[in-house]
Amino acid sequence: MANEEGNTASPPSFYQAKGKQGAIFSWLFSTDHKRIGIMYLAAILTFFLVGVALGVLMRINLIAPGKFISARAYNSLFTVHGVIQIFLFIIPGIPSSLGNFLLPILLGARDVAFPRINLLSWWFYLLGGVLILLSVFIGGGAPDTGWTFYPPYSIHTTTNVSLAMYGVILLGFSSIFTGLNFITTIHRLRAPGMTMFRMPLFCWSLYATAWTQVLATPFLAITLMLIILERAFGIGFFDPLKGGDPLMYQHLFWIYSHPAVYIMVLPAMGIISEIFPVFSQRTIYGYRAIAYSSLAIAFFGYVVWGHHMFTSGMSDFARVIFSLLTFLVAVPSGVKVFNWLATLYKGSIKLDAPLLFALSFIFLFSIAGLTGLTIGTLSLNLYLHDTYFIVGHFHYTMFGGAGFAFFAGLHYWFPKMTGKMYPEGPAKWAWGVMFIGFNLLYFTMFLLGLQGMPRRYFQYLPQFYTNHVISTIGAGILAVGLLLMFGNLLRSLFRGRRAPANPWGGTTLEWSIASPPPTENFAKIPQITEDPYQYK
């Protein structure tokens, strides 16, 4: 059924489809999921690089505290770095770019269930990003509360907290609409013969993610709205003088923000599930276990938020319960790791860039998960909370985990999305530089945390200096690696070899259509007769 080469007699690609309007309008008003996915990708990667630049500035401060950057500026730096990387990069990241581009194709559909809502989602994302950038440059200045916006400081600070929050609320709606769209698409638009258990696993991960987006993000909206109301009208829900409780905010905030990290990592795991079968040319081990574990992770993600609050003054009873539940969430993740590794066993391994990134995901995410168990342990958390240990942990999960998986997916689907191949050599070099830089940058943070270095401090005692220098060197190396990787992909966009329909020997539906695909995806909606990942 696979179409070998994208031959010249086939329909024009979705890039070439002409509308009645000019080029820019026909993109900005397009309801084609592929165009929306590409636009999201460009914006998401741009915001990522802005966030990286802010991170580099933070690292520069940390080897020469106060020399270039004031304390107040540093507070704004880590706040905006967090807001951009979390709300503009990693949460929308995979679902809105790769998910939008691929989900309908993987299901054998022509588009998502609600293409116009998809477009609305994209506009909300843009508007949200604009508001957040605006909050940095106008009036009161960039928020300096940390991305977590804890009251009472977020109530009293004169920085542009409310403006940034309007931006984040818009991004929340963008996320909700994407989730709503994906759930309906998966239920309603699968090709004939494609039962839920014949869907590719990336679709399962997007499904679990979509439910999390739909059920958790409203809590973010209400929480931020209450801060805005408290700043504007003095409502008092979080103000003890008016009968409120600052812990109420923390509960509300983390009720969203913990599931949010599963919005980040579930799609990443889905990408890994796609890559391993192709690059070992073996069917995935334990398809159902992986599908169910995605749902289990999404479910457990709802009931562990208290582990962000172990030192806040919560009851002992709650702390014990949350610690136990936190341990349980590691189980389905472990299931996935074992299944992925079993997929490789006796496979015909092709160590191309997608597999390289996917393998390093396993390594980095395992470190992330194990350190997560460390800080999920109540007694250890009392010592490690708000130290650099936490910072190291979440960068291993969000960046080493979701980030590297995103890069794996970028390389894997690059030929499909662009119609060009990238050269493997530079891609592998970039990976190597990134891997070394990443571990230097973030592993030292575990050591700093254990030594007692608090997070969000712009200066520190002399005993922490050496590790901070190593970490900053790592940041520099990582930045070089990122530039190499993006430079390679960007160059290939214009000068790469023409890509065939199926350069990797994949079996899922996207490899059966041209690279890049035509607007309507399939000339004829396929009839599905077998499970995915069937190799001889």
Partner: protein, 221 residues
């Protein structure tokens, strides 16, 4: 029937050639549209749910003061508003079968009645709020900051929750007005009424929120 109890659109599309592609584009997935609306309403459940969580936590903490403060609300207006909203749900629910039975004018009347009742609800709310504000009870007012803590939280919750609800009623009224217009023009008709149905779902949801708000604010004395 699909595995989840729903029906797919007819299987004919699976063998569609390019020429039928245009026809495919105009086909509506009725169940899909309804599913999308339900999922949106679920987000609203969690959204208001967050506020109900805040309410329940502070209610547990300040039960005495909540009891006392509720007496400051107009139980008659609250009950009237409940009856109004319940009745508007009836008129909204009837609008669909009336349209499908070919009684378009009755359906328009039903939709209009819903709008009318919604406006009455908002007018009542406005009256209530202006009365309280007139008495100096509003967030951060000199009178309010002197109240006991539980009382401050009660009235803050009152304003935020009934305010957010009223905003949803207002949006609902506007959308129903749009739907009424489309029905009158024949864009919504007996063979394609999904917009009317989805709007009805939204309106019933707004009613359900009030069904909970009413006793929790007006009846806990």
């Amino acid at each position: 029937m699909n595995g989840d109890g729903s029906h797919s659109v007819k299987e004919a599309e699976s063998t569609m050639e390019g020429s039928e592609f245009a026809a495919e584009k105009h086909r509506i997935d009725y169940t899909g549209a309804k599913m999308g609306m339900w999922i949106f309403l679920l987000t609203e459940v969690l959204f208001f749910g967050g506020l109900f969580l805040v309410y329940s936590v502070y209610r547990a903490k300040y039960s005495g003061e909540f009891h006392g403060s509720a007496a400051g609300l107009d139980r008659f207006l609250g009950t009237a508003n409940t009856v109004i909203l319940l009745t508007s749900s009836l008129t909204m629910a009837l609008a669909i079968p009336l349209l499908r039975a070919g009684k378009k004018h009755l359906s328009l009347l039903s939709q209009g009645a819903t709008i009318f009742l919604g406006i009455i609800f908002l007018a009542n709310k406005y009256a209530e709020w202006t009365e309280h504000i007139g008495h100096g009870i509003y967030p951060d007012s000199p009178l309010m900051v002197d109240m006991s803590r539980g009382r401050i939280i009660f009235f803050s919750l009152y304003y935020v929750m009934t305010g957010l609800h009223a905003l949803h009623v207002l949006i609902g009224v506007a959308i129903i007005a749009g739907v009424l217009f489309l029905t009158a023009r024949g864009k919504i008709h007996r063979y394609d009424f999904i917009k009317l149905e989805n709007t009805g779902l939204y309106w019933h949801f707004v009613d359900v929120v009030w069904i909970y708000l009413f006793p929790l604010f007006y009846l806990i004395t």
